[in-house]
């Protein structure tokens, strides 16, 4: 293993949801992953970009933002260490970014090449199953958070916002 690969492998090993992967699977994942240092305010991608990576935050904080005309950029979610973003790139139908991603502070992220990831998952369905299972979990928790945001828990029940 090259030094870079070795370092990537070690970083991935720290992520709890990779810990149950077999070593050969983790090595395969490391081979399609690049580590990337990001600086505060660095834009990783914009809404509408055709960029094709699945990201895992290793340190720092990434904000997902949607621009609303007349209201500006709204931060809808922040991605903290161990969390995943850009997962739609692994799905078969989404071909462009639905939100922008900006680093809030300096940090380190793992960028998994989605096309290569899809390929190694196709070749080895055991690995594919593990990856998709974890991603399903990410999507489910993201959906729950979205629902709770949608409920607007803190709104007064009689205010217009809550209706």
């Amino acid at each position: 293993m090259s030094d870079v690969l070795q370092e990537t492998f070690k970083e991935l090993q720290k992520i709890p949801w990779f810990q149950e992967l077999e070593k050969k699977h983790l090595e395969k994942l490391a081979s399609v992953t690049a580590l990337r240092h990001v600086r505060a305010d660095e834009v990783l991608f914009h809404e509408g970009d055709k960029e094709d990576c699945l990201y895992i935050v290793l340190s720092g904080r990434i904000a997902l933002e949607i621009f609303i005309p007349h209201r500006g950029k709204i931060r809808i979610y922040t991605v903290e260490p161990q969390d995943v973003f850009g997962w739609s790139s692994v799905t078969p139908v989404v071909h462009q970014r639905t939100a922008g991603a900006t680093a809030v502070v300096d940090g380190l992220i793992a960028c998994i090449d989605s096309e290569k990831l899809r390929k190694i998952c196709e070749e080895d369905h055991d690995l594919g199953y593990m990856v998709m299972r974890r991603l399903a979990n990410v999507v489910a928790s993201r959906l729950l958070v979205t629902r709770l945001q949608l409920l607007d828990m803190f709104a007064h029940p009689e205010s217009q916002n809550a209706k």
């Binding site: 809808i76 922040t78 607007d152 828990m153 803190f154 709104a155 007064h156």
Partner: protein
């Protein structure tokens, strides 16, 4: 059914039903858009001297002509010189309170209700998870921990609000952090100037390591948030008996008599507002109960 485990306050003896004591507004602190803190002092110094409360208890504040409202006490229970109430202006009574000026008087009865089991929590890790106007009833618990920091293990405050402008007591967070309280803040939505977390309170549980044998979770906030906080706590194998919830209903008499604040067998004003979760679990997911 589990019986209530939280300590009860001493008996309340009233000669005249609902007759309040009078307190003067000594200062008003604007916290956020629709919440201000009213600092009160009994007009009778002897009453002020004798008044004590436990973190998590509430008072009934009375505006003559308008009625009473149950407001939790948000100040330091060690400070016997004044009593703080963070009031959100949402109804008749609270809007009337909102028109008070420094020097005006207000009726006060209390303290009422059960309180956070600070004694029982000694030696434990304390995970405080609250949202919105749920922070005020927990602030006295935080003050208590600050005064007795060595008696508690890891202490975390996970606090959320709708937007950054809705976060309360933010000027105190640094002091709390200095006392080794891990203060983590989140908002439901932010703008580009907000560099903190965006997301809802319960989702951030995954960021913390819990020793389920010695962690107690204290929670207060919108009931729906409490539901999800409890799911997250239970998913981390925190026992029911280590989860404490402050509930809200329309308390009116404060003495378990008028019936309004009932939740199943409990009168929230006297058997609560602070419950050990196992006591209220059977009624927790019953709609409109």
């Amino acid at each position: 059914m589990v019986t209530q485990q939280i300590a009860r306050p001493a008996a309340i003896n009233t000669e005249h039903l609902l007759e309040p004591q009078w307190a003067e507004v000594t200062s008003i602190t604007k916290e956020i858009n629709d919440v201000s803190t009213y600092w009160l002092k009994f007009t009778d110094p002897a009453i002020q001297k004798a008044y004590t409360f436990e973190p998590g208890q509430f008072n009934m504040l009375y505006m003559p002509g308008f009625g009473e409202s149950a407001i939790s006490i948000c100040s330091d229970s060690n400070d016997h010189s004044k009593i703080g109430h963070s009031v959100r202006f949402v109804g008749n009574v609270t809007n009337a309170i909102g028109r008070l000026k420094v020097g005006d008087v207000i009726g006060l009865r209390g303290p009422f209700g059960t309180y956070w089991p600070m004694k029982e929590l000694e030696g434990k890790d304390v995970f405080i998870s609250c949202g919105g106007i749920g922070l005020p009833p927990l602030r006295p618990a935080i003050y208590h921990i600050l005064h007795n920091r060595e008696k508690y293990g890891k202490v975390t405050l996970l606090y959320g609000a709708r937007t950054p402008a809705d976060l309360m007591y933010t000027n105190e967070f640094d002091d709390w952090r200095k006392a080794n309280i891990d203060v983590q803040v989140t908002v439901d939505r932010g703008d580009s100037s907000w560099t903190g977390r965006v997301g809802v309170v319960p989702m951030w549980f995954y960021q913390f390591r819990f020793d389920s044998r010695k962690t107690a979770v204290l929670t207060c906030g919108p009931e729906i948030m409490i539901h999800f906080v409890i799911y997250e706590a239970l998913a981390r194998r925190i026992p029911l008996e280590s989860i404490f919830v402050s509930m809200e209903r329309n308390m009116k008499c404060g003495q378990g008599s008028c019936g309004h604040c009932q939740l199943g067998p409990y009168f929230i004003c006297k058997d609560g507002p602070v419950f050990r979760f196992d006591a209220i679990q059977p009624f927790f997911n019953v709609e409109e109960f």
